[in-house]
Amino acid sequence: MTATLFIEWTTLISLVLLAVALLVSLVRIVIGPSLSDRVLALDLLAVVAMGFVGAIAVRTGLWLYLDIAIALALLGFLATVALARYVLLRGARQSPAQEEGR
């Protein structure tokens, strides 16, 4: 197997794994049950999306995507900090009220 072919396959495998990861973390966002669980899953989702963009950067060879990945990581962090403040102010509700969780 040549090195280029190896890269092609590994990026493909990584993209598939990350796509599954996106779906799995979506499960936790949907089923909750509390707001904190959803915020945690959202934080992880941002990391997965960052990895996805990184894998795309490798696959396409467009390294500009790296800046997008780093910006996404920054955004995920800020969002989690803001949402943690929100959790603190509002109080986590343990009830599985799906409508309220949004």
Partner: protein, 112 residues
Amino acid sequence: MLEGLELYLGGTLLVLGAAFTLLATIGVVRLPDLYTRMHAASKAGAVGGGLILLAVAVLSQDAAVSVRAIIGVMFVLLTTPVSAHLLARASYLTGYRPCNDTVIDDIAQSNE
């Protein structure tokens, strides 16, 4: 041959990172309560994301891109524990109790 070696190393790092990220999400779905889930999200998630950025740094073969990717790795390693800690603290203070399997809870004891 040397360039080829770089490519193999980068590809392996990429797949490892993706696998860790996937395991982190599986952990977030399977583990019993918020605090145990946070273990999966903060550790496996940070390592997964960090490994992918490291793979970008190895594969890009361009100093500017590599340095930015490594700064990105440091950023991820610095921010993930901070956000996990903030969320854990906010959740505990607003009354999210750990699950019933929890053996010891020193915070609850100190508040009594």
